[in-house]
């Protein structure tokens, strides 16, 4: 149904992940598939591979999924989640090297125009000084 690249937001904080997703929805719109996760089940800070995989599934698009992460474990767990995906999906998911909030809004704006996964990642990463 949706042929825009999906966006996944992974933060150590459930509030940051959800808040970022709300920003994307309200600023860009709902035409971009969106998944997010953050925090551990006890309400503390953390990220985990299963939740990231579920978020990727929620945001899945055949054009691919771009993941925005905050710090350390969010990135390594996202990479692990990608490795655990079915082979056909693995090559269509990327982690963007960009700040999580700004990157998510920029990536989603690009994705909303029907851009490729590569273009979406490049837009998010344009924010990061070389």
């Amino acid at each position: 149904m949706n042929d825009n690249v999906g966006i996944v937001i992974v933060s150590h904080s459930a509030d940051v992940a959800r808040g970022t997703a709300m920003m994307v929805e309200q600023m860009v719109g709902r035409e971009v598939p969106l998944g997010w996760c953050g925090g551990d089940p006890d309400g503390g800070l953390g990220t985990n591979v299963e939740a990231i995989m579920a978020a990727i599934d929620k945001a899945w698009s055949d054009k691919g999924v771009a993941i925005l992460v905050d710090l350390g474990g969010a990135e390594t767990n996202s990479e692990m989640a990608i490795e655990m995906l079915p082979e056909a999906r693995r090559s269509r998911v990327v982690v963007c090297n960009a700040p999580v909030v700004e990157g998510a809004v920029m990536a989603a704006t690009e994705a909303a125009s029907g851009a490729t996964l590569d273009a979406v990642r490049r837009t998010a990463e344009e924010l990061t000084p070389a």
Binding site: M27, V28, G29, V105, M106, T109, E110, A112, S113, T123, E126, L127
Partner: protein
């Protein structure tokens, strides 16, 4: 442009999304002589940080250039409200 906060995050997203709906090459500038930036680049549009009451100039080149300019001017004149 009369938008209360100027060309900030939300207006920038709206402008870029609209520009991307057209095939023409579309540039945006804060003076009639440029410098020009790609109106389809959300990162560049957001970085212009045009304040309230500034004038935004557009130029477009391509098959749907006229329609693109009309739509963009309408968006800015309409204070970045959602269209009908």
């Amino acid at each position: 442009m009369r938008h209360e906060v100027g060309l900030h995050a939300r207006p920038s997203v709206k402008l870029t999304k609209l520009a991307k709906a057209f095939e023409s090459k579309i540039d945006l500038g804060l003076s009639p002589d440029g410098p020009w930036i790609d109106a389809k680049s959300i990162v560049k549009v957001m970085a212009t940080k045009a304040p309230k009451d500034s004038t935004i100039y557009f130029r477009a080149e391509g098959a749907d250039a006229k329609a693109a300019l009309d739509a963009l001017v309408m968006l800015v004149d309409g204070d970045f409200q959602d269209g009908p």
